[in-house]
Subunit: 247 residues, 2 copies
């Protein structure tokens, strides 16, 4: 594993406060690997063996049942996923696949469980991380239940804009079909709904999003930190959530 990878992992909220000795030991059992695009990393139902950390590229978390599939999140660097399954030593609830060529760090789940039992700082970091993940999914569920398709799309676009500091023009970072699945609708429906949103202040041409009337758009879906998440203003992009979003 590259030394600068280690430094980056060390800076993650999950790992930054633990004792160096414990961090080093955790990383000793871990290994980094590069995967091609479109590879299935994890299949839902499998036992949770490794905590995954995305170093480069992006990973889709998705779920399936009876032949249907839906995207649950897109994880982008640098963040972890499937933490909860590792902790519970339980089957993964979601599958994962690379959206593009990606480099991942795999940390054995057993090491993880051993370490937070003896490193209180790491335990606290884990608690904070999980609490954040939990709240992210609750917000997602609230969006699904309280908003219709058009509203979810508008809120999604507004969130993207806000994460870029309120930009009126920006590019979508993931495929539309994936956005559709993440927002709980079909690609056709997304396409039509996007078109219909022109009358409330957004125009989407290909990947290019232009907010033509911010006030009108804000009036159409009043952003709510209890659904859309707190103002990040940072560089978080895509459908991913602030940090690790999957357990």
């Amino acid at each position: 594993m590259r030394p600068d990878d280690l430094a980056e992992v060390r800076h993650l909220p999950l790992f930054r406060d633990m004792l160096k000795a414990n961090f080093d030991q955790l990383m000793q059992g871990a290994y980094a690997q590069t995967f091609p695009a479109g590879l299935e990393l994890i299949r839902q139902g499998d036992p949770a063996d490794f905590l995954h950390v995305v170093m480069e590229g992006s990973v889709e978390l998705y779920a399936h049942w009876e032949g249907r599939i839906c995207t649950m999140a897109v994880v982008q660097p640098v963040s972890t996923f499937i933490l909860a399954a590792c902790i519970k030593d339980a089957p993964y609830l979601m599958s994962a696949r690379t959206l593009e060529r990606a480099r991942l760090l795999l940390v054995p789940a057993s090491d993880l469980r051993a370490v937070f039992r003896r490193d209180p700082e790491f335990a606290v970091s884990t608690i904070t991380e999980l609490a954040g993940c939990y709240r992210a999914v609750v917000r997602h569920a609230k969006g699904l239940k309280l908003r219709n398709s058009r509203e979810r799309i508008a809120a999604y676009l507004l969130k993207q804009s806000r994460s870029l500091g309120g930009a009126a023009r920006f590019s979508l970072t993931v495929e539309k079909r994936l956005i559709a699945s993440y927002l709980g609708m079909t690609p056709e429906n997304l396409s039509r709904a996007i078109r219909s949103l022109e009358e409330v202040g957004v125009q989407v041409k290909g990947q290019q999003v232009t907010i033509t009337d911010m006030a009108q758009l804000l009036a159409f879906v009043p952003p709510d930190p209890l659904i859309d998440g707190p103002d990040t203003g940072g560089a978080t992009a895509g459908v991913s959530l602030p940090q690790g979003v999957a357990g």
Copy 2:
């Protein structure tokens, strides 16, 4: 607070492994209180001051946005809720109200945060509890996205049945309108969908549910532990989930 209350709280997975001294201290700052039916205990957006433990009665967790409301969970004794908000010292994502007369234990969030920083066992319990909550919400979100109304209802009824050891006859434990909201549909739609489920092996008359053809019902919605949760076989009832479900 009653001594037998203390014993019951002490037996919760969240509290059972911590040092007695720490438990006692936590409980010293806590207080129990009885609330009438229909009282709003928590309003979403308010700062998280207390971890709530339901000792008796039941509590609905719900969310609202722009005049719309939806039920997120029903919490029944003995379990905790809004753990995650307390940990993050962040605003509640959900509101809470008593469905019936209920007795609650309120534990100051600041005490909570202080204690798991110095009691590793409690930290581990908190981690496990949160991981469980996270997975419960992920399962709920999966159900919403991967199943249609009829399937969600059928799965819900099957889950109730299984939690009673596979009973073919049982009573609904919560109001239908609440079930409808929990499952993400209108009461009218629930009513009609229930009626239409007669042709796949369930009959519902008032509160009474009768599974007339278990095989057919199982074929209609193949239960999936990654959505419906692991087989409990226990006495868990209502729309509530195994343990604390709200952070």
